[in-house]
Amino acid sequence: MKVLYFAWLRTKIGCAEEEISLPENVKTVADVLDLLRTKGDAYVEALGEDKVIRVAVNQDYAPLDHPVKQGDEFAIFPPVTGG
């Protein structure tokens, strides 16, 4: 699955885009975030419980219980500040 990071999440994690494989037991947005938190300190810090982040699956906002599958485009970013 392709994972994209934007704004301070991108700078904190130090990468804009990466490919991850989903283990069998990873079925929701929350599961993916848990999986990413095992990848090192930068991830733990960026995706910590105290951080306000948003997730989009296939370019639509998705809640924590939204299902995910291998081919999805998974994006993590802060609340938007455009306009």
């Binding site: 994209l4 934007f6 704004a7 301070w8 991108r10 700078t11 306000v52 989009a56 370019q59 639509d60 906002y61 485009e73 994006a75 970013f77 802060p78 609340p79 938007v80 500040t81 455009g82 306009g83």
Partner: protein, 157 residues
């Protein structure tokens, strides 16, 4: 119509082009957002001299198209134009343009304000402000923008 682009745009030319030849239009409302050269009154005295707008290519276009569609369903609009820039912009430059054309004044005003409120809270753009020392700082989302959106969800339009 929506456009996501790095280049600047000419507000006047865009509005003029939209109205041309359609005599069913009774009113055109537009809003342009610009990079403000303001003082950071909260933290310090550094001036913001420029900013960079990062966006999510693909999702941006999808969200803007959705927002346009919602506005067209809610109001009787002859035409809609949304232009949003990304990349680096200096103080005084255009960031975003919304134009709505309708037979009726109220529909034009309401839909333009709705589009801007929606853009501010749903379109995937992030501002990195640059002060006059060249330091970048990611801008936090404002609660006021979420509240502006709530207005539209509650109102029986």
């Amino acid at each position: 119509m929506i456009r996501v682009q790095a280049e600047n745009f000419d507000v006047g030319a865009e509005i003029n082009a939209l109205s041309e030849g359609n005599t069913a239009i009774g009113g055109i409302c537009s809003f342009v957002g610009l990079v403000r050269d303001f003082q950071h009154t909260k933290d310090d005295d550094t001036r913001v001299s420029a900013m960079t707008l990062e966006h999510y290519p693909g999702m941006t276009e999808k969200k803007l198209a959705e927002i346009e569609e919602i506005a067209r369903q809610r109001w009787p609009l002859e035409d809609v134009l949304i232009i949003h820039r990304y990349g680096r912009m200096e103080a005084g430059e255009n960031i975003v343009l919304v134009v709505t054309a309708s037979a009726h004044r109220k529909a034009a005003f309401e839909s333009a304000e709705f589009l801007m409120d929606y853009l501010k809270t749903k379109a995937p753009f992030w501002k990195l402000e640059e002060d006059d020392q060249g330091q970048g700082k990611w801008v936090d989302a404002r609660d006021a923008d979420d509240h502006a959106l709530t207005k539209w969800e509650k109102s029986q339009l």
